[in-house]
């Protein structure tokens, strides 16, 4: 009985720690990347929420923010980068384009949402979303990680 209690507590502590130390991946696709940069910049400073280390390599990072339109030419690369990330890994789909194609949904070269390529944990609406929205998505993702409700 006491073993069980210990295991669940450790699990919770691990999940709490994972959520509070996310390392995002420097991965800009389109317009939303500028708002992602604003969110990590001076005014919004999302290092406050424990994810300040933007890594340039997918192998170092555990959070992918798909910031912009995913085209059919780029989609295989997105999947490949996702595969290169180490477990546990999480995906935020930022903006209308990444979530559902956005204003380019009628185009012949645009993927209607990045969830056709990688599993997405949190979607953000907006074109582009404000940095506040991205920070809210990060908080939401942290809560989901703590509850164990993530895709991976």
């Amino acid at each position: 009985m006491s073993d069980n209690i210990l295991v669940t507590t450790l699990d919770e502590a691990l999940r709490w720690g994972t959520g509070k130390s996310l390392w995002p991946f420097t991965f800009g696709l389109a317009c939303c990347a500028l708002e992602m940069m604003s969110a990590m910049g001076s005014d919004y400073d999302w290092a406050r929420f424990g994810s300040d280390v933007f890594r340039d390599s997918p192998r170092h990072s555990d959070l992918m923010i798909v910031s912009g339109t995913v085209t059919k030419k780029m989609a295989p690369r997105v999947r490949r980068l996702y595969d290169q990330m180490a477990f546990p890994k999480f995906v935020i789909s930022m903006g209308a384009c990444a979530s559902a194609g956005g204003p380019y949904v009628r185009g012949y070269s645009v993927v209607d949402g990045v969830d056709q390529v990688v599993p997405v944990d949190v979607y953000i609406y907006g074109c582009p979303p404000r940095p506040e929205s991205l920070i809210k998505a990060l908080k939401l993702l942290q809560d989901r990680i703590a509850d164990g409700k993530v895709k991976h």
Partner: protein, 368 residues
């Protein structure tokens, strides 16, 4: 040891490609012998989608071309459309447009400066630049209601008038802008590593610059004083005093100096517009609402404008309906990027990030 050419793939995911550029590089040791940019990773069919709706509907796609300077893109579109439809614009709207465009040029150059510092291994300019950029964005947010992509200019004027509060904000911002920018400038100029890495790197001579169709700060850094605001004035640029900065060297360092001086000049223009802003309507009252302009147009029009990256314009062909028949985008980044092989070959692989980031390519505009 025999000489061996190694092929290296740079991108499409790389922190210093400013988006999704891929460059196929052939290396002989450390020296680049061939570089071929491969584009198309952000092809979003902006031209064809714009030809599917009424003229004002094309504006959201125009916004997303050069997303770092959306208002400059809108200006190219509305000027061209107004010429095609023969729409008159009130004087106040023209002055507001000038002010907004210059504010957005400053914001765009701040992004470039911050990320250029990041590419050159300096983290602090990024935070300083974004601090200053947010001040510009607060003003733009107050006037247009949006942070990055505005949809603010309309055929026949602008969507909303400037508020007295926003004019106050601009005045406060102008009072210490030059001081703050000089502070950032000194971080670059006084950094020994930065100067050593950029002086003499990525050189492009004047002849090459002109034959590749390179425009904007890159052309001015190569020694030609060519600015469409001075040489072919649109809006009211002929009634305003400003200088066109230019350098002779044509390297990465010269481009940095030109862009920083341009920001000082843009602030000068904004200050002059504040003094000269006339009273009156902010859009043509002949049309009930700016977004409802559904004028049938015939003919063709093209007005080149000076965007932060170079000459930008939209060539419109109307076939007598309310939907554009042809919507051709002349994007400066695309032409600038075509000069990449000339700027990279002969230099070392470590100079590549400096050269690529000094071009300031924005991929919404390159791939369209």
């Amino acid at each position: 040891m025999q000489d061996k050419i190694v092929e290296v793939n740079f991108g499409p995911q790389h922190p210093s490609t400013h988006g999704v550029l891929r460059v196929k590089v052939k290396l002989d040791g450390e020296v680049i012998v061939d570089a071929q940019p491969i584009i198309g990773y952000l092809h979003r069919n902006a031209e064809k989608l714009s030809e599917m709706g009424y003229y004002p509907k094309a504006q959201i796609y125009v916004d997303r071309l050069d997303y770092a300077a959306a208002l400059n893109m809108e200006l190219g579109f509305v000027l061209s459309a107004e010429k095609l439809m023969d729409v008159q614009v009130p004087d106040r709207a023209l002055w507001i447009r000038m002010m907004m465009v210059e504010l957005n040029r400053i914001a765009s150059h701040f992004i470039w400066l911050g990320t250029h510092g990041l590419d050159m291994g300096m983290l602090s300019p990024f935070f300083y630049c974004f601090r200053e950029r947010e001040k510009v964005f607060r003003i733009l947010d107050e006037i247009t209601g949006s942070r990055l992509l505005y949809n603010y200019f309309a055929i026949g004027g602008v969507y909303s008038d400037v508020t007295p509060k926003s004019l106050e904000m601009i005045k406060t911002w102008l009072s210490d802008f030059d001081k703050n920018l000089t502070e950032i400038e000194n971080i670059f100029k006084k950094s020994y590593v930065y100067v050593a890495r950029t002086k003499g790197t990525g050189k492009l001579g004047l002849d090459d610059t002109i034959s590749y169709g390179v425009t904007g700060p890159m052309l001015r850094a190569a020694g030609k004083k060519w600015d469409l605001r001075k040489n072919k004035p649109y809006l009211h640029y002929d009634q305003i005093n400003f200088d066109v900065p230019s350098q002779q060297a044509g390297d990465v360092y010269a481009r940095m100096l030109v862009r920083i001086e341009e920001m000082h000049q843009s602030a000068r223009i904004v200050a002059q517009v504040l003094d000269k802003l006339p009273a009156g309507d902010f859009y043509n009252k002949k049309y009930s609402k700016p977004m409802l302009v559904r004028i049938k147009a015939t003919g063709e029009s093209y007005i080149p404008t000076e965007s932060p990256k170079g000459e930008f314009g939209i060539y419109l062909v109307g076939d007598g309906s309310a939907i554009p028949y042809r919507f051709r985008i002349r994007s400066p980044s695309f032409a600038n990027l075509s000069a990449a092989p000339a700027m990279l070959i002969g230099y070392k692989i470590a100079d590549m990030t400096a050269t690529l980031s000094s071009m300031d390519p924005v991929f919404g505009e390159v791939d369209r």
